[in-house]
Symmetry: C2
DNA sequence: GATAGATGGCTAGCGCCGCTAACCACTAGC
DNA sequence: GCTAGTGGTTAGCGGCGCTAGCCATCTATC
């Protein structure tokens, strides 16, 4: 089966070439330029090759987004592990926003471009509940008598909102850290 | 000058026909179907007519978005006026989310599709700071010793995040009111 | 080692998109 | 009644996502 092994290896390598090139291109320029023609030029294969791996450009974006959720979960896990229980929420929140800011195009595809991915149902891809779980575990440290899930969702929404509004110039570009601190303060209260 | 008057009237009427048709079409189906061809069919004029009013489809979307900010400001103003000072933040927050949920496509174009609109600079179109001002005025009622702008920005981000995450199935579809209540509670603390 | 089939990749093209050039009918003013 | 100008049209350019159909090369069988 070594021949089939090699073929599978080559196939997955080509798939990774496509996703990583798409991601890099989006990060370097924008998702708008990630077209099948441009992408095929970047990977030095013709357009139909892309469709051997993904049924549509939307599917490709979804695959990239899932990679992002894996990475994000890793970042949150490390942040939580390296912090004391009472600082966990703050550490995780800062790790979350850092990741979003350092990978704007990726964050964009994770939360704005791809809308098919759902966190809730039983059919949710594993990386999504995993990322949520990290956030939730940190929130649990300070929840006291409050509903952990409600609190997690609200905190998450606030972080997401700060990132999105900040990105589009809807709130002042500076003062980002002040806002995060204020947010954590408010959520630690009571 | 009655002839020029009539011409101006007809011209602004046609412009309004375009923007309102675009908005209705987006709300009925999606912004994806608001193409120059489809839109021209809906308004029963040819494509180039659209370009007599707007330099690009992006400009048209921007015009629709600005209408949205005007309406949103109105909604917030009324909510604040009809509430007691201590309930103002909650009332405005609920009015904000209601407006977003009742006009999903419009909210989408205001905050996601159109990214050129900036709130901060001196060149910001009036409707934007106006909407922000309403939110800020409500927050001022409960700010006590906290920085009003920081607090407003964080609250706004949280509302925006709740709307966006809720819309894409990233947080549980029910429990929306619980989250808003939790948010207001946390921000009223201290 | 020749042959038949499967595999990986290509070219070409369909129907759409945003946007524009060029033209035409009609209106308004002298 | 002629001349401008205005409001509208048709036709087309380059680019888009996606697919049909073809070809070369590699694999497995005899």
């Amino acid at each position: 089966m070594t021949i089939d092994d090699r073929r599978l290896r080559e196939r997955t390598a080509q798939r990774r070439l496509i996703t990583s090139t798409a991601r890099a291109l989006a990060e370097k320029e924008s998702w708008d330029v990630v077209t099948t023609r441009r992408l095929s030029a970047e990977i030095e294969y013709s357009q139909p090759v892309i469709y051997k791996h993904f049924a549509s450009l939307e599917d490709l974006a979804e695959a990239v987004a899932l990679e992002g959720f894996d990475e994000l979960t890793d970042a949150l896990t490390h942040a939580r592990r390296d912090a004391s229980p009472e600082d966990a929420v703050g550490a995780v929140a800062r790790a979350y926003t850092s990741y979003a800011i350092e990978n704007p195009a990726l964050y964009d595809v994770m939360f704005t471009r791809v809308t098919r991915l759902s966190f809730g149902g039983d059919d949710a891809p594993p990386p999504l509940p995993a990322a949520y779980g990290e956030l939730r575990a940190a929130v649990a440290m300070i929840a006291v008598e409050r509903d952990i899930d409600i609190l997690t969702e609200v905190l998450w929404a606030a972080l997401h909102g700060l990132i999105m509004l900040g990105r589009n110039g809807r709130i002042r570009p500076d003062k980002f850290n002040e806002r995060i601190s204020r947010l954590i303060d408010q959520f630690s209260a009571r």
